[in-house]
């Protein structure tokens, strides 16, 4: 294993996650050969792209040693603002502005997060939790006050579901672009170095003359923008935005980043791992919904609701995989 990882220049968690993806696909193929069809795989890629964009921003924050729990409602803000922009600015300006407006609103949320964590030195977990609640509050008012525009613009739909390259959804291309940018920042820029360094030892970074606050602010802003972008894509995919559209994405995003080998304590992790983690989570959820394991168990005499089995397997898989490679070093 060590030789393979050195040869391919990827680290162990990424490799294991990748192998798990293969195993899952093969298991699915046993059930039905459709699982290995190009159609299915490309569809999964499209679904994965939404999670992928969101996880990209989240990964930066986790690398710093922080966490962003405001993702659920930032996604909603992104989606809802994109659909409402025509209502705010009138159709002439609003429609072309829809996509950037949604992203910028997400960015604004990220800036608030970054301010609280970097300048007020509030613990990121609790501060982003509060921002999430505030974001929810704002969206409740927004939808409750008057009938909002919640239909996605054509551009938004095209971005999420259109096909510039035959067969490959545009959102996958969007994810690819975001991913490329993330890899570039992390591996080729000073900002990337500083991110890893802060995750390792912020004190030493401060004493090295780096403006750590600006780096933290930037990462939270990017995380917010990515979440907002994810919301825009989701609105396009579903043709509309709706409340709580982001709730289902927080835990999978965190899981994807962590299963990809990024340490929750910060300072360690490669983007390729996050990509594989996102694909893994997507395939896992898809297989669980298609395979209907509860039907299998029903044949064995156990009648169980579908969702429960999904939840249990999801949890067991995450624990199991982390036991394989997510373990912290023993103190001795």
């Amino acid at each position: 294993m060590k030789n393979i990882t050195q040869m391919l220049k990827i680290d162990r968690p990424t490799l294991i996650a990748f192998l798990c993806v293969i195993v899952l696909l093969l298991l699915g193929a046993l059930y039905s050969p459709n699982f290995l069809s190009a159609d299915y795989l490309l569809k999964q890629l499209q679904v994965a792209s939404f999670l992928g964009v969101i996880a990209s921003g989240l990964m930066l924050v986790i690398l710093l040693g922080h966490i962003d729990l405001s993702i659920p409602w930032t996604i909603s803000i992104g989606g809802m603002m994109a659909t409402a922009s025509a209502g705010f600015f009138g159709p002439q300006i609003g429609v072309p502005l829809a996509i950037p407006f949604g992203i910028v609103c997400g960015l604004a949320v990220g800036l608030v997060n970054g301010f609280g964590v970097a300048y007020l030195r509030a613990p990121s977990m609790i501060f982003t939790l509060g921002v999430n609640a505030v974001a929810q509050g704002l969206m409740v008012i927004h939808t409750g006050g008057f009938a909002p525009q919640d239909h996605a613009t054509d551009a938004t739909i095209e971005l999420a579901a259109g096909h510039l390259i035959p067969g490959v959804a545009n959102s996958v291309i969007a994810w690819f672009v975001v991913g490329l940018a993330t890899v570039f920042v992390l591996s080729r820029t000073g900002l990337g170095r500083r991110i890893y360094a802060i995750g390792n030892r912020e004190r030493a970074v401060f004493l090295s003359g780096v403006n750590t606050r600006r780096v933290v602010l930037t990462c939270f802003a990017i995380s917010g923008a990515c979440a907002g972008a994810g919301g825009v894509l989701l609105a396009g995919y579903a043709n509309r935005s709706y409340q709580a559209m982001g709730d289902a994405y927080l835990l999978p995003a965190i899981a994807a980043v962590v299963l990809g080998g990024t340490s929750v304590m910060g300072g360690k992790g490669r983007y390729l791992g996050t990509v594989v983690g996102v694909i893994l989570i997507t395939i896992l959820q898809s297989i669980l919904s298609v395979l209907q394991p509860q039907a299998l168990l029903a044949e064995l005499g156990m009648k169980l609701p579908a969702e429960s089995v999904r939840q249990i397997i999801f949890g067991i898989v995450i624990v199991g995989m982390l036991l394989l490679y997510g373990r912290e070093k023993a103190i001795r």
Binding site: R188, T189, G190, L191, R193, R194, Y196, A197, N200, R201, R203, A204, V205, F206, L207, S208, G209, V210, N211, G267, K268, R332
Partner: protein, 521 residues
Amino acid sequence: MDSIGTPLLRMQGINKHYGGVRALEDVRFECRESTVHAVLGENGAGKSTLIKVLSGVVQPDAGTIELGGERVTFPSPAAANRAGIACIFQELSLAPDLTVADNISITNPPKKLGLIDHRAQRRIAEEVLARVGGEDIHPLTLVADLPLSRRQMVEIAKALARNPRILILDEATSALTAADVGKVFAMLKQLRTEGMSIVYISHRMGEIKELADECSVYRNGRYVASFAAGTKSDDAIVEMMIGREYSNVFPPRSAKVVEGPPALSVRNLSWEGQLNSISLDVRPGEIVGLGGLDGQGQRQLLLGLFGTLIGATGAIEINGVPVKVSSPERAKSPNIAMALIPEDRKNEGLMLPMSVRDNLSFAALGRFTRFGVVDRKAEAKAIDEMISLLQIRSDGVDGPVASLSGGNQQKVVIGKWLMNRPRIILLNDPTRGIDVGTKQELYQLLRRLAADGAAILFYSTDYDELIGCCDRVLVMYNGAVIRTLAGAELTEHNLIASALNLPASPTPGPGLAMAHAGAAS
């Protein structure tokens, strides 16, 4: 040498390696009751690893430990404690959020009805603190609220409260004031007469000479020799430690006087009562030392110059131009060009899990980036140059910097700053815990940098170093500079006298002997 009876503790054939690095190879160690046994060796000699094995913090790969004639193993620090071994670590083992009393009785507290008896615990703390000479420490103080020297006293008290058979001190007095050191030594001597076996690690030869009955020397993870204290000369000992002939040579000071405004000029710098109206000048080419007892504001002065203090008053000029150093980021900027080598290299100077290369280029990233993108070729070139300039020795520069020895780690910290071509270099006790060989290299480097025009301000707790390296020494007391010593006046005696705020006299009085013991190395 007292050879009555078998030794209380005997370790033989101990092997320990971390990855490819052999920390200990076929090492042995013995100590008797009623003895202070000093363990000597440079950094990287294996002393710390040996102590960790003995105190249960790490497990040896091979070898045996016999306690009182019986084979024992210590799979954890708790096991070693139960066997009667107490260790006072260099990195303190205190929980900052708990009180002194809680920390002292952290395992095995007095109990009432199965729950902790806080009153009895407090009494134990008061008793043992008094024994150690720390009566001024209130048992209910949170450890986090105590300064480092008090914390070290609590650490010593905690070890003592276990009533051990073997007491290990690993650089346990490094942060103590001279007065505290005297009290601790008195206590150790008392314990010795009561039968305790004491293992003592220290870089300070003066302490070793005063305390030790027996000595063992280690080098490069191997056992060299044991002998009774006083039977070998200092030079012979150092030779055993570094394996070659040795003389502590400081590069000659420069007699040149540089024209023009001082590189760094400070007027009436005051802060929070810890810095009181400090004024000083450092010219390009000068190495100015900061002396005085520990805790008189030397560290705060350096931090203040580097821009981390809030609410400091006073004026700073760089090359005659008034500036405001509001943050380390400003201090680093090209028109101020300051560098600070911090006191805690592991937590403040390095990102331990990152590679040597990434650490080296970190403070100077701005020089290698265009529009935010790093120019890897230029960076690699500069890194390679720095590594060869400083002769940084490591198994692989792409490996984590945590795997380097203390001396090489410090070189990385210095190299990191040299990449920025600083004109003013501040050093906060840079040679603490560094082996003799690397120290020599550092002294040469500093003199070279000064000759190239840098202005160096250098705080050290080592009097030899201050005298050997510096052109002038500013002795600090209570946050102010009370005396400047230079030339013929720059002697150990005058340094000590000034540190104690005594008038300098031509012959040393008897009252200075205690301070001497704790301060000299």
